[in-house]
């Protein structure tokens, strides 16, 4: 189960390394060890960030298949990524401190 805000944040982070289309992002998240990300969560998250102006979409012709929608991080998206990753690190550090000494 994906926590909504965390998926958003990971998507912004992946897109900071360069533009990508939906399925590509799903595959990269899987490679990072998150397991398979349902498209039902992935695309609404991308759309929301596009709406907020954090992402810009560019359509390209696909190879044989239908067209592909590439997502590009905007300046506003970079700002959001900086702010949200700082908040996440502080949060994660708190959780780690709380879990310190707990047997895994």
């Amino acid at each position: 189960m994906w926590l909504r805000g965390v998926l958003d944040l990971c998507l912004l982070a992946l897109l900071e390394r360069g533009e990508a289309y939906g399925y590509e992002l799903a595959r990269r998240l899987e490679e990072l060890g998150f397991g398979s990300v349902p498209g039902g969560s992935l695309y609404p998250a991308l759309l929301r960030r596009e709406k907020l102006g954090h992402l810009r979409a560019e359509w390209r012709a696909g190879e044989g298949g239908p067209g592909r929608k590439y997502y590009v991080l905007t300046d506003a998206g970079r700002d959001a990524l900086a702010a949200e990753s700082a908040a996440w690190r502080a949060f994660a550090a708190g959780v780690a401190a709380a879990l310190d000494g707990v047997r895994a």
């Binding site: 909504r4 289309y21 939906g22 399925y23 799903a26 349902p38 498209g39 039902g40 969560s41 695309y43 609404p44 998250a45 759309l47 929301r48 709406k51 907020l52 359509w59 696909g62 298949g65 239908p66 067209g67 592909r68 929608k69």
Partner: protein
């Protein structure tokens, strides 16, 4: 399910949710591209077309922010309430403004229902005060209905003190119910309704006569996904019209649909 059928249904569901045609086309193509590469069953990857369409419509509504909130309709200051020796509310403050749909969150027993009852005037706080500017509609979590009366008879009964005559009450009740995807005039007496439908009736009764402040206690329980989406559409129209609502729920999807979240 075959991908083509699934995509057709998706397009239909998106259109039904008011997503503009140009965007529907883009979403369908993108989804199709994903299915093409992932080579999976669309139901596994995206879920039911209606569910996915609902999530997409929500995402597109993310910027549907209320017009600047208006005057304060509900002001609570320093509310305290004890149940026996346990403090349920302790120094609670709240401003609810015209044009806001606010979510009230908190685990069971944290006082959500108590707070709504106090704001509705059903209970008195032990400490603090509540000021309400305008009329109030309230939907309780349990009860609130008269089991041997038809929904239309509820409309008449609840509409009268809010200045609606018989005809206007039935008309308005039916229209509100329709917004929730429910044909109230074809329904049996309240006692024979399912839990979700009883909640819809409670929401309609609270909204009857269009009070300035709508207080809803767990209106979600027993509602299917489509009804939840319709409920929020109704609520957004409500606050866009300059009224306000406070909704107690622990449904997490409500967090991003509400204009603000208050935690207890």
């Amino acid at each position: 399910m075959r991908a083509r059928t699934w995509l057709d249904e998706l397009a239909h569901e998106l259109t039904a949710r008011g997503v503009p045609h140009a965007q529907v086309a883009g979403i369908v193509v993108e989804t199709e591209a994903h299915l093409h590469e992932a080579a999976g069953d669309p139901l596994d990857t995206f879920g039911a077309p209606a569910t996915y369409a609902g999530a997409v419509a929500d995402a597109l509504a993310a910027d549907r922010v209320a017009t600047a909130p208006g005057r304060v309709r509900v002001r609570a200051r320093g509310l305290g309430k004890r149940h026996g020796r346990r403090a349920v509310l302790d120094g609670f403050d709240l401003d609810l403004r015209a044009g806001e749909a606010v979510l009230l969150m908190g685990a069971n027993g944290r006082g959500k229902s108590t707070l709504l009852r106090i704001l509705a005037g059903l209970d008195a706080p032990d400490r603090g005060k509540v000021e309400i500017d305008g009329s109030v509609g309230y939907a309780p979590q349990h009860g609130g209905l008269i089991d041997h009366l038809l929904p239309a008879e509820h409309f008449v009964l609840f509409g009268r003190p809010r200045g609606l005559d018989r005809r206007a009450a039935v008309q308005q009740g039916r229209r509100l119910a329709e917004q929730l995807g429910w044909d109230a005039l074809a329904a049996p007496v309240a006692g024979a309704l399912s839990g979700g439908t009883r909640q819809k009736l409670n929401v309609v009764l609270a909204a009857l006569g269009e009070p300035d402040v709508l207080l809803l206690d767990e209106p979600y329980q027993g509602l299917d996904l489509e009804s939840v989406q319709r409920f929020w559409d109704l609520l957004w129209d409500w606050r866009d019209a300059g009224r306000c609502a406070l909704v107690a729920s622990h449904a997490h999807d409500a967090i991003e649909r509400a204009d603000a979240v208050v935690e207890l």
